[in-house]
Symmetry: C3
Subunit: 140 residues, 3 copies
């Protein structure tokens, strides 16, 4: 990965072939001590992607092995149990350019990911509520 | 709903179970007298969603009842006939993680919606042009 | 096209019927000498759209003729061989509101495109690496 721009809370990061995503992003957030960020755009390609659908209690998970175009990434970064937690939803185009998507658990960068973050002067946390759901909240 | 962050024109709002979306957002915009905003990200889950496709004169509307993952929300807030108008397009993943989407008329939050807004120091308006189309414009 | 707002690096542009997209955006970037921008949202409708899927060496291209709802646009602007280069991925809803998408080569605005840019105080470039892939980078 390479941080291409980081100014006025606007950050552009390029992730490179074979990097794990979003793990590499979470690792960077930990190193930079980022307590809150909005993820507003991300395009490129991922392979061996695990996406999920939440049924209210747990995630059903599907693996998408072939390299797929990442059409959109949206989400945020918060702290969950003391660690940076990246909550991202992804839209992926398959070989026929049909689109599938869900909660992004993991993927491997197969070409590039060009990501746009807004770093926020805040501390977001994930708070367990009922069942298995952790809501986005603030410390106060 | 809870405003988690609002600083330098960057606003993060969490919408909660059973809230109507985007009505709750429009109500908040009215209360806060927001004349223009960009909606740059929104993820979570909605049920009983009404999405539409514009054929040049009117919207064909489809209802998606099951709780669906919201993969992306993009759009803006302007004033239309004196009231805040939320123009949003949504991508939704169904139970097979296949994606459908369109103009978002309404939905009910079934888990959460985590929304990122950029509040703009401007006044956007919707101006009727021809037929049934209202274009995004400014007052001047 | 009309620039509706341009302040603090936040820019909202409306593209109008029959304009070529993203060519009109690239032309505007050239005129305004924009060296780097993040494209964080874009909704509206396009017809005669060419979308592509990269197989690691070249793009497979598909043409979508009917007017389609643009559900999301994400990407960036950089300089490639001395010219502004718009890298955009698009999600499109067809007449059944099913979604397809990919790298956006071109389309014709069939109603409107409402685009949100973050202009960055930077110079992004596209650098050839291996094969036919040009990675997003900075001059330094």
């Amino acid at each position: 990965m390479k941080v291409l721009h980081r100014q006025s809370g606007r950050t552009v990061i390029r992730f490179d072939i074979a990097e794990e995503f979003p793990k590499t992003l979470a690792d960077w957030c930990r190193k930079e001590r980022i307590g809150a960020a909005a993820i507003v755009a991300g395009i490129g390609m991922l392979r061996d992607v695990e996406i999920g659908r939440y049924d209210g209690m747990e995630y059903e998970i599907k693996t998408v092995e072939p390299s797929s175009e990442v059409l959109s990434l949206q989400g945020n970064v918060s702290m969950k149990e003391g660690e940076p937690f990246v909550h991202l939803h992804v839209s992926l185009a398959d070989e026929d350019m049909d689109v599938m998507g869900g909660h992004l658990f993991k993927g491997t960068v197969s070409m590039t990911i060009e990501l746009i973050l807004l770093e926020l002067d805040a501390d977001f946390v994930r708070v367990p509520v009922e069942g298995t759901f952790w809501k986005l909240d603030t410390l106060d």
